[in-house]
């Protein structure tokens, strides 16, 4: 119900989201992509049928937005080393050929849509720069792995 959103509802929705959905997603980077994908890119609103059914559409939307901002902040301000590990795990979990995924990510830059709408410009720029660099590091590791073990290519 618009205008009747309480902090307790949002917190309960956040706890539910964390305990039922996010904890089953293996890496923080995958959680970021999942939360960004719950957002409608035309309106910037977040949707989750299960959460909206249990709480309210507004509480679910707010819980998703808050969780998205938190996960984004942790990744964007975390170490580059951690991001490289997370990205490597995520790219392998996608299921497609990692080389192909890397090329697509490098060209299409899909990670840009993972940035929450309210994040400050400098943190968003740091995130994009770090993902670009992390992709280059993963690619360089793959190349050296293929050189050492040509049969794995």
């Amino acid at each position: 119900m618009p205008g009747r959103l309480s902090r307790t509802d949002v917190q309960a929705a956040r706890d539910d989201l964390k305990n039922r959905t996010l904890c089953s997603i293996g890496t923080e980077f995958a959680r970021l992509i999942y939360l960004a994908s719950a957002r409608d890119y035309n309106t910037g609103r977040y949707y989750h049928d299960g959460l909206a059914f249990q709480f309210s559409e507004e509480a679910a939307g707010k819980a998703l937005a808050e969780a998205h901002a938190e996960v984004f902040r942790d990744i964007a301000l975390g170490s580059l080393e951690n991001l490289v590990d997370q990205l490597q795990l995520y790219l392998h979990s996608v299921g497609a050929d990692p080389g192909e995924t890397l090329r697509a990510w490098d060209k299409l830059e899909p990670y840009r849509v993972a940035i929450p709408v309210d994040s400050d410009a400098l943190t968003a720029a740091l995130f994009s720069a770090n993902v670009k660099l992390a992709l280059a590091i993963v690619e360089s590791r793959q190349r050296s792995h293929h050189r050492q073990d040509p049969q794995s290519a």
């Binding site: 301000l77 400098l122 943190t123």
Partner: protein, 186 residues
């Protein structure tokens, strides 16, 4: 030659004072707040400072990521890292200066209508602001010359100075503005 030194010192002092006056005046003229300040109470309450998070500053200027990239062993990666961090460091400086300008502009606008000005506080604000601007220029030069890594001490000092300026100004701001800006993001 030594007889000219006192005149040179006086000249420098005058130049510094003129710079303070010029910076304070030009900051006050920027933006639209000065127009709305005296006429519209709502605009005053709308002022808010977006401080830069401490973690962001540490991440951009810290050496942890550089150590990791260096250990990867390729010159291309190191070059890419330095290019990116230089751009981010320069953007940080611009954002920090924009924040300080916003703050000083609000202060000057408030001071114009204040009936109880404290000359010593005003002088301190002016001196701190001038030092902050000079430090920002120094950091920009250092970034161009040496890159953004290992500037930790200079950045730390600049950040402390910006915080001091913020606290000093918030202390003398009208109550409605001060309460909105009393909490800096850590």
């Amino acid at each position: 030659m030594s007889g000219a030194l006192p005149f040179l010192a006086i000249g420098l002092l005058l130049l510094m004072l003129l710079s303070v006056v010029w910076i304070l005046r030009s900051s006050a003229e920027k933006g639209s707040l000065s127009e709305s300040w005296e006429h519209d109470g709502k605009s005053i309450a709308g002022f808010h400072l977006d401080a830069l998070p401490q973690e962001l500053t540490e991440r951009i200027f810290g050496s942890q990521d550089w150590d990791f990239v260096s250990a990867q062993g390729t010159a291309g990666l190191r070059r890419l890292f330095l290019q990116q961090r230089t751009a981010l460091a320069l953007a940080w400086i611009r954002a920090a200066r924009a924040n300080a300008n916003k703050l000083i502009h609000t202060h000057v606008t408030a001071a114009r209508t204040s009936s109880r000005l404290e000359p010593l506080v005003e002088l301190r604000v002016g001196a701190d602001y001038l030092l902050f601007v000079v430090l920002c220029q120094l950091i920009m030069l250092a970034i161009w010359l040496r890159g953004p890594i290992h500037l930790g001490r200079l950045i730390g000092y600049t950040d402390t100075l910006s915080e001091r300026l913020h606290e000093l100004i918030v202390r003398v701001l009208p109550a409605e503005l001060a309460s909105e800006n009393s909490n800096r993001q850590s």
